[in-house]
């Protein structure tokens, strides 16, 4: 009996040790130039290039799938780099765009990437039966409506010129930067030879999106161990050059444990803005680590407070301005973010080329807030509900500050916290007064999906005629200088109407071990688009 137990213990020990060693690189192990480990906070919901609903999903998708071009802001200017396309031309009318796919661009199963694949992707996204969140990205293409959907019998502005060359027409002339970023960089191409026969209404549930073995990017999908890690293997035939790092593991690491992982060098790259950052408390410590590069940069995302416009008492813009005055936003930046952030009154980030410097945030002024509320006839006995999603610790703390500030201005507030999906459902259903939310967008200043009447992410449920008019003008204006003037005006209208209160723009705080070379961070591409250039050292 005793011998059996000893043997059993021995066997268990061996199994445990083997379990630790097997996925070397996942659980620490020797640091190799062949393996890199990235860490992000939460698991992806799927790997659907046209429908994954979180940045976690897109972070993974971008290892495997490419769009036509890559976008990046350099010196306050939008720049484009080749991805699937090796060349692209903008017609003199700002309405005709021609792309040539790289001759060696191929799917992971060896089939070439062709204009047929691009057409298939566009037809799929624009099919009203398809579940996708890429619609807004292609809405400017001829034949599509504002949500990027095709009406029955409508002709898509798409022409195949050669097997690897195609032309797209937009409905009206548009700013080439907008088109190249939205269609060029944000629409990932699907393999027609794999998905071509799947009915559009069944596509979202297709097993391919949990096991996307045929991609066109620098890395191939190996496996996803639920809630633990996603493993990628290099694509030797990647048309822009085979990656240097053979395997990349993207591990799911909760925020609180990320510091320990960075300290032990078990983690090479924190995934980045909004999905894998260093906690603000841990920031000073990471900056002091000898083996780590701590990178902080202005990020294209912001936290904001929604007003539910379905509540009559929040429809008066004096009330909303009073709330903007009441909330001490500079305190959030100086104390909650320890200075790692900026303020702005609107959805265009201060680091964005379209930012209007003349629009200043409404200053913190409790007396002014109270006066405005009195003027607007606010009922000081009313208790309003502030809905707060859990997960982002700084945002949760900001809720306590907001409540305290509003109470000082005479507004009674009750905080209701819930996990993100529950909170989102309540906000979508209009079951709230104030709500906290975060947003990260592309560099292009078109924010119609959030701030136009009926927009997919118009969570305030607002409808402001003047704002709609300016937003529509912005999309239709092709001339970059005139377009800038339109968005300058938009930001003025925004600060006046305040469909939401922009709370702060937090810097992204990321950590990269010094053995990693060529890891890029910047304010436009949320993620490093050149992962294939990563080099991992042995130290």
């Amino acid at each position: 009996m005793k011998g059996l137990r000893a043997r059993l213990t021995g066997a268990i020990a061996i199994v445990l040790i083997a379990g630790l060693l097997l996925p070397a690189g996942v659980w620490g192990g020797p640091k190799s130039e062949l393996v890199a480990v990235a860490g992000m906070w939460s698991p992806p919901n799927n790997f659907n290039p046209i429908n994954t609903d979180s940045s976690y999903g897109f972070y993974c998708v971008r290892f495997m799938f490419m769009g036509m071009v890559e976008a990046r802001v350099e010196n306050n200017q939008m720049k484009f780099f080749q991805a699937l396309a090796s060349q692209w031309e903008v017609g003199a009318d700002n309405q005709t765009y021609t792309f040539t796919i790289h001759p060696r661009a191929a799917w992971h199963d060896g089939k070439p990437v062709t204009a047929e694949d691009v057409l298939f992707t566009l037809m799929t996204i624009s099919d009203p039966r398809t579940e996708t969140n890429r619609g807004a990205q292609i809405a400017s293409i001829a034949g599509l409506d504002a949500r990027g959907k095709r009406a029955a019998g409508a002709q898509l502005g798409f022409r195949i010129l050669e097997p690897k060359k195609f032309e797209i027409k937009t409905t009206t002339p548009v700013d080439p930067n907008m088109f190249l970023e939205m269609f060029g960089a944000n629409v990932y191409i699907l393999p027609k030879h794999v998905l071509g026969n799947v009915p559009p209404d069944q596509l979202a549930r297709h097993p391919f999106f949990h096991n996307p073995t045929v991609g066109n990017g620098p890395y191939k999908f190996v496996e996803y161990k639920t809630d633990q890690f996603i493993e990628f293997l290099l694509n030797e035939n990647y048309h822009l050059g085979a990656p240097n790092v053979r395997r990349v593991f993207v591990r799911i690491i909760p925020p609180a444990t990320m510091l320990a992982q960075i300290e032990r060098a078990d983690l090479d790259v924190s995934a980045g803005f909004g999905i894998g950052e260093v906690l603000i408390e841990d920031w000073d410590r990471v900056k002091g680590m000898a083996h780590v590069r701590a990178v902080s940069f202005p990020a294209p995302g912001y936290q904001y407070m929604l007003f539910n416009f379905q509540r009559p008492y929040l429809q008066d813009k004096r009330v909303r301005r009073a709330f903007a005055h009441a909330v001490n936003r500079s305190l959030m930046v100086s104390q909650l973010l320890k200075g790692e952030g900026e303020l702005a009154e609107g959805p265009i980030p201060p680091a964005n080329p379209y930012f209007n410097k003349r629009v200043r945030p409404w200053p913190f002024d409790t007396a002014r807030a109270r006066a405005l509320l009195t003027e607007a006839g606010w009922d000081f006995n009313r208790t309003i509900i502030l809905r707060v999603p859990t997960g982002n610790i700084i945002r949760e703390r900001s809720a306590d500050i907001i409540r305290e500030n509003l109470i000082a201005a005479g507004v009674r507030v009750e905080i209701q916290k819930a996990d993100f999906p529950t909170n989102m459902a309540a906000v979508r259903a209009g079951n709230y007064d104030l709500g906290l939310m975060g947003w990260a967008g592309p560099t292009d200043p078109d924010v119609s999906s959030q701030y136009r009447t009926g927009g997919q992410y118009n969570l305030s449920h607002h409808s402001i005629a003047l704002m709609d008019q300016v937003l529509d003008e912005g999309v239709k204006t092709a001339d970059p200088t005139k377009r800038r003037a339109v968005y300058d005006r938009f930001q003025e209208v925004f600060a006046d109407e305040l469909p939401v209160v922009t709370l702060y723009y937090a810097n992204a705080r990321t950590a990269v071990t010094k053995r990693m070379v060529n890891v890029l961070f910047d304010a436009s591409g949320l993620f490093d688009f050149q992962v294939y250039r990563w080099v991992a050292g042995t130290q």
Binding site: P255, A256, L259, A260, E263, L279, E281, D282, D284, R285, N328, L331, Q335, L336, T390, I393, E396, R397, A399, D400, I401, R403, E404, E414, I415, Q416, K417, A418, T422
Partner: protein
């Protein structure tokens, strides 16, 4: 020796109770007031226990949080002792099918992992709040008490004084209320004491997970949520040691009292 510990426990509990009742008088600051000059500030003469991650006075929050913990402990346990005693008495007294059905219900409820059920119930109840935690704990805690009472009633039912009461024509409610329950209460009282300690721990766990008391109301559990970073754990002990210590002290002292009660009420030790 044991009784000395129980006395210490009672004194400490008394202090906690006074702290909770007199919180507005004792706390140096409002528990929700934000000091804009110092977030996560070290203990100082203004803030004896420092400030938390939103610049609020830790000491004041600690004092106010005693209200939450004690009210959850006392109210939830009162609630489930009432339910458990009634159900247990009915099951034990009537026996037969009634007992069978009620006992199986108890078995089923006791076989679930409690925290998971509580988490589920709190979220189904709508939004998390102090009252929901109390109600959920109260509604889920009764089977253990019911079992105790049922066992006691089953044993007592056969005794002569009960049969005598029946013989002179006492109705069922009278027999149960007058003769059975008073004799069955000793173990219930002990269970209730330990239950209070447990309820305080569960509230702390729920609030730590964000499913308990809602901010900005302080509770020892949600004060601990600040400590979810290695840097805080290592370099800012004032954010998590005080609430942790309070949970420890309150649970420990209540358990001392429970031990003392058990010894005092256990007939086998009275010899």
């Amino acid at each position: 020796m044991r009784h000395r510990l129980a006395v210490v426990g009672i004194v400490a509990l008394g202090i906690l109770a006074i702290m909770a009742l007199a919180a507005p008088l004792l706390a140096p600051h409002s528990p929700t007031a934000i000091d804009p000059t110092t977030f996560q500030g070290r203990p100082s003469s203004v803030h004896l226990f420092g400030t938390d991650s939103v610049g609020r006075d830790v000491l004041s929050r600690l004092i106010y949080a005693a209200r939450v913990s004690l009210s959850v402990g006392i109210l939830a346990v009162t609630m489930y002792v009432l339910i458990g005693t009634s159900v247990g008495a009915i099951a034990g007294y009537y026996g037969g099918t009634v007992d069978l059905v009620l006992s199986r219900i108890m078995d089923i409820m006791l076989s679930f992992p409690p925290l998971i059920i509580i988490l589920f119930a709190v979220s189904v109840f709508g939004r998390p709040s102090l009252w929901n935690v109390i109600i959920v704990l109260g509604l889920l805690g009764w089977p253990a008490v019911a079992r105790l009472v049922r066992g006691q009633v089953l044993a007592l039912r056969q005794q002569e004084f009960v049969q005598a009461a029946r013989a002179i024509g006492a109705s069922d409610p009278v027999v149960v209320m007058r003769h059975l329950l008073p004799n069955a209460m000793a173990p219930v009282l002990v269970a209730a004491t330990f239950g209070t300690a447990n309820a305080i721990l569960v509230e702390a766990a729920l609030s730590f997970l964000g499913m308990g008391v809602q901010p900005p109301t302080p509770s020892w559990g949600n004060m601990l949520t600040d400590a979810q970073s290695l840097t805080v754990l290592e370099q800012m002990p004032w954010l998590w040691v005080p609430p942790g210590f309070m949970i420890l002290v309150s649970v420990l002292t209540i358990n001392f009292v429970g031990d003392g009660l058990r010894d005092a009420l256990d007939p086998s030790l009275k010899l």
